[in-house]
């Protein structure tokens, strides 16, 4: 450590940094001249190289500012991430609720699509099951087999002997309301139906999107 310092030799009595002050005229102050004659104290001074190597203010400013910038950035990032956490949490809750709704609706759909419900509705709309398989031979156009008695179970298809407790209180469809709903949902198909209605009362389906069913006896 001591090697880093230069020693001013008192014997020379002329310290490196000690410049006698002069007055404006360049005359030596006699008082100071008198002081010079006294032995001066030993003083530690730095070399020029060391003076040049000394950190400059700019460096410290840059460092401190960057530190602040880093802290600020980290803080902002942290705020953004936490904000995202709330957003994520909110969306997850929403997703969970929507999944629950989907599940509940799916469950409802399955119950409404149960065989019992469909059969009961078909019977309610006046459909009856046939007793024999009928086969239309496309090559000859012949219908094989005989029609047999409709409704072999004798209850119009609505026997409801196979219980389903989930259907308790589930209403059957009402033909009139279904027709009204269909018309409301598909106004484009309702229009041609209205046009054709007076002319073709017996056409079973006036909906152009549906293949017309042949009239059978």
């Amino acid at each position: 450590m001591s090697a880093n310092f230069a020693y001013a030799n008192p014997a020379y009595a002329r310290p490196l940094r000690y410049e006698p002050s002069r007055d404006a005229n360049g005359q030596h102050d006699p008082q100071q001249g008198a002081a010079r004659s006294r032995p001066t104290r030993v003083e530690i001074v730095t070399t020029r190289a060391q003076r040049n190597a000394r950190p400059k203010l700019a460096y410290s400013v840059v460092t401190i500012v960057s530190l602040f910038v880093i802290f600020a950035a980290q803080l902002l990032l942290s705020i953004v991430v936490s904000d995202g956490a709330y957003q994520l949490s909110g969306l997850q809750v929403q997703q969970k609720e929507l999944l629950r709704t989907e599940q509940a609706l799916l469950e409802q759909l399955q119950v409404l699509g149960s065989t019992q419900h469909l059969a009961a509705n078909a019977a309610h709309l006046g459909m009856v099951p046939g007793s024999n398989p009928l086969y239309l031979d496309l090559a000859t156009g012949a219908v094989s087999s005989a029609p047999g008695t409709a409704d072999p179970l004798g209850c119009g298809g609505g026997c409801s002997m196979v219980a389903n407790s989930l259907l308790n209180g589930v209403p059957l469809v009402d033909a009139a309301s279904v027709a009204a709903q269909t018309a409301a949902v598909a106004p484009s198909s309702a229009q041609p139906a209205a046009v054709q209605a007076p002319a073709a009362q017996s056409v079973p389906s006036a909906n152009p999107d549906v293949l017309p069913a042949p009239l059978t006896n």
Partner: protein, 576 residues
Amino acid sequence: MNTRRARLRISGMVLVVFFMVTVFVVRLVDIQIVRADELNAQSLEKRAQELVTYGVRGEIVDAHGAVLADSVERYDITVSPRASLARENAMGVIADGLARIAAVTQQNPDDLMAVILADPESDFEYLTQGVTLDTFRAVDALNIPWVYFELRNGRSYPNGEVAGNLVGFIGTDGPQAGVEYTEDACLASTDGVSVYEKGEDGVRIPGSEATTREPTNGGTLRLTIDRDLQWWVQQRMEQAAQQLGATWATAVVIRVSDGNLMAVTDYPTVDPNNVNDAAREALGSVAFTTPYEPGSTIKVLTAASLLDAGVVSQDSQIFAPYSVEFPGAGVISNAFYGPERLTLAGSLVESSNTATAGFSELLAPEARHDYLAGFGFGEYTEVGFNGESSGTLYPASEWDRRTNYTVQFGQGMTATSVQMASAYQTLANGGVRMPVTLVEGCEWPDGTVTEVPPTEGTRVVSEAAARQTVEMMEMVATSSGSAPNLQIPGYRVAVKSGTAEVAEAGGYADNKVVLSYAGMAPAEDPLYAVVVTAGVNDRVFSGRIASTFRDVMAQTLTTFRVPPSTTPSPNLPLTW
């Protein structure tokens, strides 16, 4: 003097500093190393929230994917009586709250009040259990602070009683019956656990989630059953059972080519959504679990065995009067007086016990036993249904002289309806018995399918013997007394009836019979075999369920769009 004091002071300070540092180091080591785990755990406990993530139990679906059993979310509404009663003006607030809850859950508010007052110190009582999402949301919206909710996994069976006998149900202790029980390895899910740290307001601290265990969902269990056919047959059998006053009735529809069960119905049966209302005997599947002496439906199997052994032909002749005394076996008699000079075909049409017993003498008991065993009697089917019975077929060495004959017309042995269906499937399939299949497979979310059933068939009788037997069964459909009730226009049907006596302690009951009809269609190339059976506490004959068989068979042909027969039925000589 001055320097000495200074030195002393410095030494003292150094000592103090050293002591302090030592204390801190010891403390630091203690906290950071010695008690680190414990402290970490403690602190995590304060922030950590453990969350059980539920796996979903797999669905049970029919052959076409229609859902027979599904997992659903249900909610329990619970209450803390202590918290509720601690409020100001408690009774008024509670009565008001309960009235609003009761309006949603359609309960009696007084009942709910009784729940709270039953144990005022309790922190947990159920107000109602297993409500649906709509109810839960409605009650949740009431914002009553002393009411809490719990999620629970429920099971829903959208088709009610349809295949309820096969699907089974889940009780409070897990799966109880049917494939819910036997195929639990496929359906069961495992719950997972995920841990995350939460802030003061309960929001998850970002990046803190650690899943300790992933939940796994169960697989989808696909049955071979056709839901709509099952429903139709179930309804028809219930109607028949009520008309007959039957105590039980079963029907089995089996696909001939692969032994897949298309419908297996039981009367009475259970609505898995509402198990409590079902009788105990209705909880399983009688068709699998309860064997009976099948009676005359076995005769066609005897005929096929004898034909395969080459000891008879379709027109083999026998003199078969109403009753015959067989040496050492006592008198065997028929149900009716009828023609006595019968061919083998005629013996089936007349369902003659004496003729069948007489023909049986042509083949050694061991060989006849092996044929019956080959048809699947005395063995569990490949289904392995919960509580399944193998029926009884004693070894030929244990047959007494009488059983030696009676076993060939289905007394002195027992079989389940499914075993009967399998035997008829064998005849219909040209003599090759296919493994009986109820479960088509277990489909996992990653697309793999496990529990794939066996498909290897075994030949029991020759193709010719099977074909000739089916031809003779056609004669039953065209020429027997019940023929008018067996016609399906356009289709050739092969069939055999059975009116079996029911064994009771020491003999046969006077007033109990098992009626059955079994057969296949179309007879020229059978695609489906059907067995209908009913246990009746009355002295009636099988003709009473001939039309039931016909309707079930007709519906089967309709459901699977079987093309009509194009060739006429054979006309075999029945008498000589």
